[in-house]
């Protein structure tokens, strides 16, 4: 299990080349990468977080995923600070014996990171800055787990 909260960018390719390499009996690897959408208007995004709590919250979520789906490996990288359209915000990867477990665990991680990891996004566009509001559907997504 590898959890990283960082200002710097990361290479999705390099991370996935390394991921799961030390583990045995892997049949399926799933990755999710979140990207700052390039919708034309957005100038930049700033991500604020709660140092200390962020690492704790992500570790708890990742540990639950590893236990529940018997994952062979699990990786979460989440950035904070200033990001431009097209930049990678975060990634998760899960390695498991079977595909259903790897998919479910990755979706579980994403659903919980959305609503339970202490990050807040502020978008800076041509009409000024605005905090991204949490969506009811993101909170609702937790009920399926």
């Amino acid at each position: 299990m590898d959890i990283r909260v960082q200002d710097d960018g990361f290479s999705l390719g390099d991370e996935l080349e390394r991921f799961g390499k030390g583990s045995h009996d892997i049949g399926a690897v799933v990755s999710f990468t979140g990207v700052v959408r390039d919708t034309g208007g957005l100038g930049r995004m700033e991500i604020e977080h709660y140092p200390g709590m962020t690492e704790r919250a992500i570790s708890m979520i990742a540990k639950e995923a590893v236990d529940r789906w018997s994952l062979a490996d699990c990786l979460v990288i989440h950035r904070y600070g200033t990001l431009a359209p097209g930049d990678q915000i975060m990634m998760v990867a899960t390695a498991s014996r079977h595909r259903v477990a790897a998919f479910e665990a990755a979706e579980f991680l994403m659903d919980y990171l959305k609503s339970r990891a202490p990050f807040w996004k502020k978008e800076f566009g041509p009409d000024g800055a605005e905090w991204v509001a949490a969506k009811d559907e993101d909170e609702d997504a937790l009920t399926r787990w």
């Binding site: 979140g34 604020e48 709590m53 339970r116 202490p118």
Partner: protein
């Protein structure tokens, strides 16, 4: 004495990221009432508690949770990670 932290637009309304507060409030809700009585900027930040979340010593909690033994309280809007 307790450390109180603010994030995102809560931080912006309060005007600072953290402060040390002398309080004998029994619960989070009591602490909020004390802060609101101080200055309008606290009134503005805490106007709608349903739009806020609270963490006690870096764990999500509730506004009716007791404060005894808690060293760090954080107020923030619903999180938007991922």
């Amino acid at each position: 004495m307790i450390d109180v932290m603010y994030f995102a637009w809560v931080r912006e309304r309060i005007g600072e990221p953290r402060e040390r507060v002398e309080t004998s409030a029994a619960t989070v809700a009591d602490l909020v009432e004390e802060l609101k009585a101080r200055e309008p900027r606290y009134e503005a930040a805490f106007a709608d508690l349903s739009a806020l979340r609270v963490a006690l010593d870096q764990e999500l909690s509730d506004f009716d949770a007791p404060l005894s033994g808690v060293r760090e309280v954080a107020f923030f809007p619903p999180m938007t990670g991922g």
